[in-house]
C-alpha cells in the first residue's frame, strides 16, 4: 500500500491499465508533454510514448469523436477534457454517437471509451471552470456517469471504467484532487461500477451524496445517527443500496452541488417515492445549489452546500 492523493491514484490507474492492455491510450489537450492541466498524466508520455499519450489541439469535439472511432475499432481510448465546462463543445459527439452507437447498430458496434474531466466548485475559479452538470449526462441513455469521492475509489473506479464495454464519463472532483490522501494499493483492483458505497453507517437518516460533496457531508453529520451513501456511479445509480438504507432509516437527505432543478437529486427522490414511499417517515429533502450560474469566488461559499446547511437539513428530518 502507498499513501496517494487522487491525482496520484488516477495516474496509477492509467499507468497500470496502459501497461496491462496495449489497447488503452490517452488523448487530450496538454496530456503529453505538459503532463496534464492538473498533472494527472505526468510521466505517462515518457513511459508509453507519443502514440499512446496523444497531445491534441484544442478540438474537444474531435477529441471525443476520434475516441469513438478508435473505440469502435477495438481500442480503449481515455480522453481528457480539461474542465467540465469544456465538455459542452464535445457534447454533440458524446450524445449523438458515443451514447447510441451500440443501440443504433443493435450491438454490432460499440464505443468502450472513457472521457475524464475535472468537475465541481470550491477551487475559487470562475463559472465554466467549476461546472457540476452531471445530470445532463445522466439524462442521456447509453452513457455511464461515474464520480469518485477519494483516491481509493478513484483508482478502482477508473480501472473499472476503462474495462467497461460502454462509454463512461468519469468525473474527477477538482477540489479533492490533492485534499484527501489515503492508502491505495499499488497494483490494479476494481471498485465495481453501478454499486454505491455506505461511507458511514447510521440508523435515523440516510444522506445520499457523491463526489465533491462527500467529505462535506461526512463532516456535517458528525455526532448524528446518519447513514451516508456515496453513490459512486450516478448513471445507472444503485437503487437497491439506497432503498435498503431508506427502509431502515425512513428519512432521506440528498446533497449535490449541482443546481437544484432537474438535478440528479430529483431522480433519486422520485425513485424513492415510487419504490419506497411506505418506508418514509418524513418528506425527502434536497440540499443543492440555487438555480443560478456558478458565481464568482466571493459568493462561492454561499452557492455550494456547506456543512451547516446539510446539518440543518439532517436535524430538520430528525425532528420531524
Amino acid at each position: 500500500m502507498a499513501v496517494m492523493n487522487m491525482v496520484q491514484a488516477i495516474n496509477s490507474a492509467l499507468a497500470l491499465e496502459m501497461a496491462l492492455d496495449d489497447r488503452v491510450l490517452l488523448l487530450g489537450e496538454d496530456v503529453g508533454r505538459d503532463g496534464g492541466v492538473f498533472r494527472v498524466s505526468e510521466g505517462l508520455l515518457e513511459r508509453f510514448g507519443a502514440e499512446r499519450v496523444i497531445d491534441t489541439p484544442l478540438s474537444e469535439s474531435a477529441i471525443v469523436g476520434a475516441a469513438i472511432g478508435m473505440a469502435a475499432y477495438g481500442l480503449r481510448p481515455v480522453a481528457e477534457i480539461q474542465f467540465m465546462g469544456f465538455t459542452y463543445a464535445a457534447m454533440d459527439q458524446l450524445f449523438t454517437h458515443a451514447a447510441r452507437l451500440r443501440s443504433r447498430s443493435r450491438g454490432r458496434f460499440t464505443s468502450p471509451l472513457v472521457v475524464r474531466t475535472p468537475y465541481g466548485g470550491g477551487i475559487k475559479a470562475p463559472e465554466l471552470h467549476e461546472e457540476s452538470s452531471e445530470a445532463i449526462f445522466c439524462h442521456m441513455p447509453g452513457i455511464k456517469v461515474v464520480v469518485p469521492s477519494g483516491p481509493y475509489c478513484a483508482k478502482g473506479l477508473l480501472t473499472a471504467a476503462i474495462r467497461d464495454p460502454d462509454p463512461v464519463l468519469f468525473l474527477e472532483p477538482t477540489r479533492l484532487y490533492r485534499l484527501i490522501k489515503e492508502e491505495v494499493p499499488e497494483s490494479d483492483y476494481l471498485v465495481p461500477m453501478g454499486k454505491a458505497r455506505v461511507a458511514r453507517q447510521g440508523g435515523s437518516v440516510t444522506v445520499v451524496s457523491w463526489g465533491s460533496m462527500l467529505d462535506t457531508v461526512l463532516k456535517a453529520v458528525e455526532g448524528r445517527d446518519a447513514e451516508v451513501i456515496d453513490l459512486l456511479t450516478l448513471s445507472p445509480f444503485d437503487v437497491e443500496t439506497v432503498l435498503a438504507s431508506v427502509a431502515r432509516t425512513g428519512r432521506v437527505v440528498i446533497v449535490h452541488e449541482a443546481v437544484l432543478s432537474c438535478g440528479l437529486g430529483a431522480e433519486i427522490a422520485a425513485t424513492i417515492a415510487e419504490e419506497g414511499i411506505l418506508h418514509l417517515r418524513a418528506p425527502i429533502i434536497r440540499v443543492a445549489a440555487p438555480d443560478v450560474t456558478m458565481p464568482m469566488p466571493r459568493l462561492e461559499g454561499r452557492y455550494l452546500p456547506d456543512a451547516a446547511r446539510i446539518g440543518r437539513a439532517v436535524d430538520q428530518l430528525l425532528e420531524y
Partner: protein
C-alpha cells in the same frame, strides 16, 4: 481638428503598452495576495497586438476577445479601475463583479467580452457583424482569438459564414505559438495560420506581432478592407506570451532559454528602440510617463479596494429578466 504629432502618437501608444504591462504585473502580485480570485491569464509580451490593432478601430467598432483580454479591454477604453474592481469581484467592476478576469464586458466601449471558451467568441462576432450589416451600419467587429482557437470547429464555421455573407468581421489571431501548454508544431498541420483564410475566400495576412507599428500598418489595411464593405479579413499576428499560460502553469512544455530568447524581442523594448531610432525619444518624458502610469495603477487598485461586494440577496438575481421584459 488638430492632428497629432508623430511623437505624441508614438508616446500615447507606448503609454498604453506600459499601462497594460504594469496592470498585468500588479494583477500577478494581487493574485498571489489572494485579492484577485478566479483564474488569471496575463498578456505580457503581446501588448503590441492589442495596442497596434486598436489604433485602427473607432469607438463605434466592436471588440470580442479571449480570456487573456486585459490588454484589449484597456486599449478599447475600459478604465483600469473598472477592470481591477472586476478582478476583485466588486460590484463596481465592468461586469459588476460576476465576470472576473476572463469575462470583462462593457457596453459603453462596445467590448463584447472576454470568453473562457477557446473559440467561443468567433460565432458571436459573426452575429454582431450580421446585425450591423442588417442595420446598415459600417462598423467593424474585431474578434481576437489565439492560435489554439484555430483548431476549434467554431473558427472554421465562423470564417465560412462571415465570408459567405460578406460580414464586417476582422478576424484577429494572436498566434503566441502555444495552445495552452502545447506547441503549435504539435497542434496545427499548417502552421502558417494566415494560409487558412484562402479556403474560405477570406483575404489574409501575417505580421510580426512584436512590432507594434507593423501590426498597426497591417491592421489598418485589414480594417479598411472590412469597413469598406468587402467582407471579412483574417490577420495573424505572430507574438509570444512571456509569462505562463495562467498562474498555475509550471511550463513543462517550453524551455527557460526559449523564453529568454523571446524577451530580447519584448515589444515594449523594441518600440522604445524604434522611437529612439526616429530621434524623438525624450528620457524625461518617459520617466514622467512611467510615474503617471504607476499613479493610474495605484488609483485603480484603490478603486477596487474601496469597491463593494455584491449583497448575498443578489446571488439569485439576473438569471432571468426582472419585472417583465428587460
Amino acid at each position: 481638428m488638430k492632428t497629432e504629432s508623430r511623437k505624441d502618437k508614438l508616446q500615447r501608444m507606448l503609454r498604453m503598452m506600459i499601462l497594460i504591462r504594469r496592470l498585468e504585473e500588479k494583477s500577478a502580485e494581487l493574485y498571489s495576495a489572494t485579492k484577485i480570485r478566479g483564474f488569471l491569464h496575463l498578456y505580457n509580451g503581446e501588448e503590441g497586438v492589442a495596442v497596434g490593432v486598436m489604433e485602427t478601430l473607432t469607438p463605434e467598432d466592436a471588440v470580442v476577445a479571449t480570456y487573456r483580454e486585459h490588454g484589449q479591454a484597456l486599449a478599447k477604453g475600459i478604465g483600469a479601475g473598472a477592470i481591477m474592481a472586476e478582478m476583485f469581484g466588486k460590484q463596481e467592476g465592468c461586469s459588476r463583479g460576476r465576470g472576473g478576469s476572463m469575462h470583462l464586458f462593457d457596453a459603453a466601449t462596445r467590448f463584447y467580452g472576454g470568453n473562457a471558451i477557446v473559440g467561443g467568441g468567433l460565432p458571436l462576432s459573426v452575429g454582431l457583424a450580421l446585425a450591423d450589416k442588417m442595420q446598415g451600419k459600417s462598423r467593424v467587429t474585431c474578434c481576437f482569438f489565439g492560435d489554439g482557437a484555430v483548431a476549434e470547429g467554431e473558427f472554421h464555421e465562423s470564417m465560412n459564414l462571415a465570408s459567405l455573407w460578406k460580414l464586417p468581421v476582422l478576424f484577429l489571431c494572436e498566434n503566441n505559438l502555444y495552445a495552452m501548454g502545447t506547441s503549435i508544431r504539435y497542434t496545427q498541420a499548417v502552421q502558417e495560420l494566415a494560409a487558412k483564410g484562402a479556403g474560405y475566400g477570406v483575404p489574409s495576412a501575417a505580421v510580426d506581432g512584436m512590432d507594434i507599428l507593423a501590426v498597426e500598418e497591417a491592421a489598418r489595411i485589414a480594417a479598411e478592407h472590412v469597413r469598406g464593405g468587402n467582407g471579412p479579413y483574417f490577420l495573424e499576428c505572430r507574438t509570444y506570451r512571456l509569462r505562463p499560460h495562467s498562474m498555475f502553469d509550471t511550463e513543462q512544455y517550453r524551455t527557460r532559454d526559449e523564453v529568454e530568447e523571446w524577451k530580447k524581442r519584448d515589444p515594449i523594448d523594441l518600440f522604445i528602440q524604434r522611437i529612439k531610432d526616429e530621434g524623438i525619444w525624450d528620457e524625461a518624458e518617459y520617466v514622467a510617463m512611467e510615474s503617471d502610469v504607476a499613479e493610474e495603477i495605484k488609483a485603480a487598485v484603490a478603486f477596487a479596494e474601496a469597491g463593494t461586494m455584491e449583497p448575498v440577496e443578489d446571488l439569485t438575481r439576473f438569471v432571468y429578466a426582472e419585472g417583465g421584459r428587460p
